[in-house]
Symmetry: D2
């Protein structure tokens, strides 16, 4: 049984010159950096800043990614980058992303993350991390 | 009906310090830069260097990505990055990637690309580009 | 004779995870990306957005850089990145940077830029670009 | 009294697509990543791989940079990136860089580095590190 939750947050990103390439648009790798910025901000809002995860002896590396790039982003664009958790994770944490420019969807993606102990192996999400998600269970 | 082809190439990548992050491993976004290096080298081997695509008035942007990150890569690792085309593309070009360190698989991924005319929209793969793939049809 | 001017602007930068390296701090190359963000914002404030330079047929590439790195920046730090023009340029444009975290200076740097015509060579700063600087001459 | 030494090494770099920007050339920040690749290779040749510095409890962060960008680099260019030590360091280590494409000089730069103890402050270069430089004293 999956527990559905709903926690969602948006960050504003202004495209940096260094994020473009000779094609004249943002290079596809940089979208993942923005998704990470949105993921970190989501955890701030959730009440468990990403830094706390590392302080408590864990990492949260990416284990899977997928994305559809629907339209290009350009230098100096003002973008909205959404990050969302839809399910209370039992092992892997899934984050869903959407990137928009003035309501136009540019990108849909998702990442899956494993909790890993520093110097150790994969583990379940720490209880304290799950507890802060409880108020968002629907 | 899908025409199966087989063209595959490997590049050697030595992990750069700048590609690591505070987690002590390579940041996940950089794998896509290596995949791109492998994709460019694959087109060299295929006989249609990527630069020629742009000279002839096209771009080949990423429209989809997916990946599984199986194990970490570290500073100064010597990696093998494989890129492969398995099907003669009718519209989108799919490239399959595998990254290994001394035979250990670290990453599996794929990207899909659309041919786009400069200043224009999505188009089919140019005939000349398909023709260089013909010798690889199995 | 040098005309002294004074135009200065600050941008707020929150350090991204992807900007760190295995040393546990921000990799030195990323400071230049932040300086560029601050330079672009300075030109917005000055009334001549960087994009307009390119629309009018010019580029403004870096021709010289120098920097002192005084203290490390860390993931999630809130930084102030200052960019400043101190002299009305006759040929090269010089921008001075300072990066601080809560009043502590982390970085001092400068860049020099040449105006270059697209498809052409180095040229003087366009008259329209100099004119927007005139109100700042002291 | 300065002890002059001479140790110099070259790495071959092929410009990656992701290293370009919308100006159509390599973004200036990436040159520092190549200089770092050349610096790491120089220490391999010198007989004291960079990784050993960290294993022995030190870091070697950048404390100063300077550069002149003389000509642009483009996607797929084959570049030679030289790194050189000219003086036996007493405190800071200086590395001199030159980047060329088929004999044409694109970039001159230098970096200065401090030895820092992990979790501690600036220190002198470790004796073992200096000793491997001794055969290069002229």
């Amino acid at each position: 049984m999956i527990s559905h939750i709903m926690i969602r947050n948006k960050v504003d990103i202004r495209v940096r010159y260094a994020e473009t390439d000779v094609m004249g648009v943002v290079h596809h790798a940089h979208y993942w950096v923005w998704c990470e910025v949105a993921r970190v901000a989501l955890m701030d809002v959730m009440g468990y800043p990403y830094k706390r995860i590392e302080v408590e002896g864990f990492y949260l590396p990416v284990v899977e990614l997928q994305a559809k790039y629907r339209a290009s982003a350009y230098f100096d664009d003002d973008l909205s980058v959404w990050a969302e958790i839809q399910e209370l994770p039992r092992s892997r944490v899934e984050i869903i992303y959407a990137i928009e420019r003035q309501g136009k969807r540019l990108f849909d993606g998702s990442s899956r993350h494993a909790f890993v102990r520093k110097g150790g192996g994969v583990c379940k999400p720490p209880r304290a991390w799950l507890e802060v998600l409880m108020p968002y269970v629907t």
